[in-house]
């Protein structure tokens, strides 16, 4: 069994109109090498499901997003994501804006093959008022409480980035927080994982094995993509690239800013991307953010 493929092979699985999820959180451990490959591809009309960071902004800038299912879009150190804002303020996006907790609840429902899971989150707010598709359910027990029935967030494809994987699809997340990647993997029909380091077969001790947060049967394909989270962080390997993100934000304020970003960073493939960012040595040494 060998699940290794290229980012281009993984992206070739996408079809127009698909619902795709991205792991990570804001500007943290996003599968950016795969995102760059999507940006180079002709795929469009996507429904994007994410705890949003620059992948959402970039896909919006490239006009690939029809609908966004999200709780936020942010670059953390730079709170507001410029291209998300532009698309949002232009009224271009269909939206399902969810509480962060509701969002993981919907992924969980999908992973458990349930139509919905109950929660109080979102009730008495515009999250429900603006989305009449979100229904309530009444507890069948004596309490009779009215709860929100958070529908399953079923994904056609999920993309994740991890620190280590093997050719069988076993994955390790070595940073302090696994975020909700395991739920994205469970919610998806197909899940492609890019990794910093690809091994033939993981042979771990008990402590290391606890960094495995989902099973390999959930993994369709593995992409070897060193520095593949850049410009987002990949704890415990490297931090986000604030210089790159600042330039990205500054570019958004200029005419042709996105086209320039595409020309500088996307047109030439991953090797050219790394060269344009000072090379692997600089990128791999970016310090982890201190919170």
């Amino acid at each position: 069994m060998n699940k290794q493929l290229t980012a281009a092979d993984a992206v070739a699985q996408l079809r127009d109109g698909m619902t795709i999820g991205f792991g990570g959180w804001g500007p943290r451990r996003k599968p950016m090498a795969i995102v760059r490959e999507i940006l180079r591809s002709p795929v469009k009309d996507l429904t994007v499901v994410a705890y949003g960071g620059p992948e959402v902004g970039m896909l919006c800038a490239a006009g690939k997003v029809r609908k966004l299912i999200f709780g936020f879009v942010t670059l953390d150190a730079i709170p507001l994501e410029p291209y998300y804002r532009k698309a949002r303020e232009a009224g271009e996006l269909e939206l399902l804006e969810l509480d962060e907790g509701m969002f993981q609840w919907g992924l969980r429902a999908a992973g458990m093959r349930l139509p919905f899971l109950p929660t109080r989150c979102g009730l008495a707010t515009d999250v429900t008022a603006l989305n009449p598709a979100l229904k309530t359910v009444t507890s069948p027990y004596a309490d009779g409480e009215v709860l929100l029935a958070m529908p399953a967030l079923e994904l056609d494809v999920a993309f994740l980035h991890v620190n280590v994987a093997d050719r069988l699809g076993n994955c390790l997340v070595t940073g302090p927080d696994p975020y909700f990647d395991h739920l994205f993997a469970r919610a998806a029909q197909q899940c492609f994982v890019s990794c910093e380091r690809l091994e033939e077969r993981l042979e771990l001790d008990a402590g290391q094995a606890r960094c495995n947060t989902f099973e390999r049967y959930l993994v369709t394909g593995v992409v070897h993509a060193p520095l593949g989270a850049h410009p987002t962080s990949c704890p415990s390997d490297y931090g986000w690239d604030l210089q790159h993100l600042k330039a990205y934000v500054a570019g958004s304020q200029q005419e042709q800013g996105w086209q320039q970003y595409v020309g500088t960073y996307l047109a030439g493939g991953e090797q050219a991307y790394q060269d344009a960012n000072g090379g692997v040595e600089r990128m791999g040494a970016l310090p982890l953010p201190v919170f």
């Binding site: 959180w25 804006e97 109080r120 707010t125 515009d126």
Partner: protein, 265 residues
Amino acid sequence: MSATCEFTLAELMIVAASEAWRGDGEVIASGLGVIPRLGASLAKLTHSPQLLMTDSEAFLVEEPVPLGPRDGHQPRYSGYMSFERVFECVWGGRRHAMIGPTQIDRWGQTNLSCIGDYRKPKSAILGVRGLPGNSINHLNSFFVPNHNTRVFVQGEVDMVSGVGFKAERWPDGVRRDLMDIRRVVTDLCTLDFDGPQRAAQVRTLHPGVSFDEVQDKTGFPLLKSPLLQETAHPSAEQLALIRRLDPHDYRAAAIKGNPPGIRSV
């Protein structure tokens, strides 16, 4: 205390923020942003040591982590608190967060999503984030660095991200007893929602600020709390702790112009 201490408005607000967590017991204290985080840290180091805190990433700490670069200092952890566990904590109600919403209305409803029409907003902000879930599940306080009528809006907030006390917003059968709002700390005053029918009232006024000034800069009518008094000045001990918790003086940039705590009229 008789000695007069020099202090900044930010330091006064940190002390006022710390008061929000007084008496909460064993709950997670989450202060988001410089002043709320320093307020939570100060609360834990002084009147409320039972509070739980994180390193603002994924670990629990018993010693609040100072802000900014640590010069090699490695915090010691007492437990683990991934985002997944934060939601488990939120839904169980054992948390008191203080965040800075973009808008707050007379019902205590808050907005973090967008300004203007939802479908084509004048300004898109962050998104609702965890506000819907936080606000309906546990105690919340708010922080406002620039008290004005754009924040404290006349009508309802543009996008209700966090629940409040507006009855019409609550469907029949939904539990309302799990939520509450404790305090709003602004650069002019502290507010609570403890008036009749949970009306907003001024609880303390910062030195040199009048009730009329606060009312002028608020889009809805305010009441005077029966407890209305001047906001407590930081003590020398509190100021020393604040300096220890914020060695790089991030608080100096938290309020525009870093004004002194006692404003000259």
